[in-house]
Symmetry: C6
């Protein structure tokens, strides 16, 4: 498998002012990648965690009454457009439909943002970039991106890092030695293969790092894996037992 080209692709999209969608499971490194790219491109990053109750006003801004005066306060999207930042809408499908529609004019070739409430029409500077993330694993029938939204983005697929890189990440972020990190990554791989056995979502790299941190604090490896991996992954006793069996395989002592 060749080295992945995410950095190249992202830079091409940035240069061409194309909006980008990061697709992949929780913990596959979408957010981490974007933080790196923002640093690499030298642009500020404005992140919005999308949810059911996020309104268009939360993104665009609203009037507040201060000192008897009504003052307009930019929302994070408007702010990002004004300063030419990278605006990141995390888990976009969680947002209400109107949020999705608000970004349409920013994603066609005019790259404009109309603030109906102030009457302003902002033209995004060349530095502005819109990025969304999307996890195809647990989309429901009622929550999905409309084709007219999806087809506005170049989509980069994300999966878990290759084992060698993941070992390095776990060792570096948790402080455990390479051998322990290698076993944790091996455990992660085994659990990810269980995916069809009733797990909603495979174990993320984050959980491996958590287990490493507990091991580094003196908790026994098996117990650390139970606390940081098995319990957070599932409430189903059968799934949990299967995971603990894998733990016992990897940490046999």
């Amino acid at each position: 498998m060749p080295v992945r080209d995410e950095v190249t692709v992202f830079e091409a999209a940035y240069a061409r002012r194309l909006p980008v969608m990061l697709k992949g499971p929780t913990g596959a490194g979408k957010t981490r990648f974007l933080r790196y790219m923002a640093w690499r491109l030298g642009r500020p990053l404005v992140t919005v965690a999308c949810h059911d109750d996020l309104t268009a006003s939360d993104l665009l801004g609203r009037y507040l009454i201060t000192g008897g005066e009504t003052v307009w306060i930019d929302g994070p999207l408007t702010h990002a457009v004004r300063i030419g930042a990278i605006c990141y809408l995390d888990e976009i499908v969680e947002a209400r439909k109107d949020t999705t529609v608000v970004i349409h004019p920013l994603t066609d070739d005019r790259r404009r943002l109309r603030l109906e409430k102030t009457g302003e029409l902002l033209v995004a500077p060349p530095e502005f970039m819109l990025v969304i993330s999307y996890n195809p694993g647990y989309q429901s029938l009622t929550k999905n991106l409309k084709p007219s939204t999806r087809q506005r983005f170049v989509a980069i697929d994300f999966d878990f890092p290759p084992p060698d890189l993941e070992v390095e990440i776990v060792a570096h972020e948790s402080g455990v030695d390479r051998e322990t990190a290698r076993r944790l990554v091996q455990l992660g791989g085994l659990i990810r293969n269980l995916r069809d056995a009733g797990l909603d979502e495979p174990a993320s790299t984050r959980l491996l790092v958590y287990a490493g941190l507990l091991i580094h604090s003196g908790i026994a490896p098996r117990r650390a894996c139970e606390l940081a991996i098995a319990a957070p992954i599932s409430d189903d006793p059968a799934v949990r037992e299967a995971v603990l069996d894998l733990v016992a395989t990897v940490f046999p002592e």
Copy 2:
């Protein structure tokens, strides 16, 4: 097939003050056509992207408190009526029912807009025109235009541009050579024939342009088509593989 008559029809409707509905799939050029017609007729264009939470007040206007005074601020529809603009309600079926009803008096022969909240009764000037867009492809049972709304519009059908024109568009907008543009358009045609195979919406011209932009930036054609066409179109692995097979057919190297 003769040259299409959209421009003639639109100008006739404008001259006769008939409201117009643009029907067709995402990316078939409805918005682009309307921007051209607004420029051709020399009228400003006011666009409103409709969504679930769009209220009648968002269209008509509302009172805001500024400096201790309540001030009326026109919404985009009211604004368009006052200045004699073309008002474009994009994806009208996404809006709530009250939005749909608000436009009724503007679409009969009186062409009036009553602002209940200010008591004003605006008569639209001859230059004012109402245009809506509508995508019959993904209407659900719960979201549909009522007959009493539909039957107020002359309806112009849109489909993707004929191949020659689409090649020209892709080449011009992405910067790739004619041969690459021709292959991308060929790919688009092949994917559009998959429509019955589980695709919600065929690949739009926009996606072909995106792929061209990435190719022009040095991304290999196959990878560019994966990033800009296959991934944005579908999450279904089977559909995706089918699309990638088509990509491999068109770009065999």
Copy 3:
């Protein structure tokens, strides 16, 4: 078939202060008839297009804050009662239940309107009349008039105008010659006979006028009928083809 007696009946209801319900399909001339009767009786006409989000306050009025003071603003129903107008609630079943209840005291023999929020009790002057419209064609199970509301109105049925009258209307309003108008009316009749074939609503006179206007602007008759009649009526390809076949029958050249 004898000349219809709508004018006589409406005048009797007006003289007896009975509320009236206009029943019939879209485009059968209910609104047009009411405008004529308002002019004939010399009373102003206040029209309210009902919709899902129409609240009782929208009909009755509300307090607004202006210049630091709370000021009561009459809604259209209250306004109509005060000035003795004809108040027309168009498509009443679209309104929320509370709208329907608000009109009850105006439709019994006391003809009173209580404004809870101001404490006022208005007695309608003899000139005041309440009229509602109702389209039995596309009522759903969830949207229906309760018997306790329905049984407060004298109901006048409306259907499309007889052919001769409709020819005159189409010719006069679109500017086409009598022969073309006759063919358009013939087409309307043929389409109305398709009603059981999957059409939600038959073609209204308005659509025939639109087609006439396009023909008068130089669009070929068949294309004009496609734009103004076939496309607005249905998205179903089978229905559409059937309609276009009828068009070809009526305009064989």
Copy 4:
């Protein structure tokens, strides 16, 4: 059938301060009876038409801002308690649950009304009486009175007036002669026997009066019955034809 005892029962309930529920179909005279009893007992009558959106605040009162001050405005129920009126909640099941609960403390032996928002505790004077109406005919599964509410009321059943009385009412209120009134009442009786044939609600006395008024204005009896009885009762063509057959039987000329 003995003379009914509604007046005696109502007066006994009033004397004993028992709340009363009037049960029966639309147009059976519940409201008319209550207006009579209020006049007979010399008490003002405060009527509230209940609906889906009636809040507890609509009944109890609310604070309004006037002249920069927050002023409490009594709602109709509070007002009725203060002045010792008869308070009539018409079609109580249409109201939201909280309305129903608000009246509980007024219907037990303490007869108190607590205004949480002002901190007041009102004790109802002996003259205050609470009356609700209820139509068992079209209650749905979701809209019903809870037992803990129902069992707080003495329930008086209402049905249509006996034929002789109904003839007198129709003759007096519409101005037609006794023979015409007798035929209209006969028609009403025949239609009420159709009840199982798909009619939601039988023809009320009010509709008979409306038909009489139109006849008195010169409309032919059959047409008057069509306008005022057949059309308001049902949209179902079969039911309607059945009703028109009955009309033809009663008015054979």
Copy 5:
């Protein structure tokens, strides 16, 4: 059956500061018992009738704007905590989930109430007691107390009073002689045995008292039982006839 120990149990719970749940059908005397206990313990009683729309703010308090200042107004629960009253949440399952959660900190051993909006943390004085009522008879699947709420209360079961006591109550509160009261109580018992025959809720003592009051006012016993018992209990003709048969058995004259 030994004399019931509700008073002893309630006093023990009060002394131990345990919250209490009163369980039982409508009209079994839960509210009456609590009023007695409040009088016996010399504590004020604050009652809140719970319903669908009761918010946490309704219980805790809210800010109001008076004279240009925002003033905090205690809700009934806060008020009861401050003055050391018995706070009674009647029919708690009718309330929204957030109401239920608001009382949690008052029911564990800290007995505290945090007012997020004022930043106050109230510690309940020893005299404060929380009591809820709950009718297991008509709980639906969607409305139920969560285990984490239920298990915070000592639960006292209530049923109808024993016949001798009920006779005394009916005689005393309605003014009828003992023989009539005995027959009414006998009727109540017979109807309660019908419970499985389609009655949502058995006849409460209150209905027997109502019937007694009407009899005492001169209404014939059978008619009084129809008005005050049969009609309020059910709309179902079969159930009603069954109840009237029982009435005829008890009052054979």
Copy 6:
């Protein structure tokens, strides 16, 4: 079974700044444990009981108008971040989705909280810790933690205390002698074994303490167990009888 290591694990998580999830049934001591850890670590504890209507603003803070000025008031989560407290979101799955999302940035390695409404970006001090509780026993299909939330926490499982410790707790908190406490704990164990027999939730230690308190107040043990354990646990007569049989086994006198 070795001594449990909750304290060690929690201290390791605190030192490593890992967020913690406490999993287990009602009454297993999750809240009690957290209160102990907050005391042990010398950090203030801010508790939020989550419910259906808890908004992001309730957690983060909101603007209030006081003295004519708009003043920002921190919510409990913001407050906890500012002062470096332990913030405890009790029964997190009860909260709306937006609450869950609000905590995401506090649970990744940046540990930041953005207040969109004030524009502030708070970085949590090292002393700040986020803890949530979660009861896997009665989660429904619609209420569940998303994987992307769950996988941010180290999860510590809780169950009821071992018998010896539970005897000590019951004796100490209720004042009964050890023998009575032992029997109550025995009863608790027997009831917990009924779990599959239709009990939503097993009897918590709290209920055993309640029963002890009533016994200590002089209520007979069987009656105390009925009041404090059997009745609060279930409304189902069969389950209740089973529980009372167990009571009779444990307290045979």
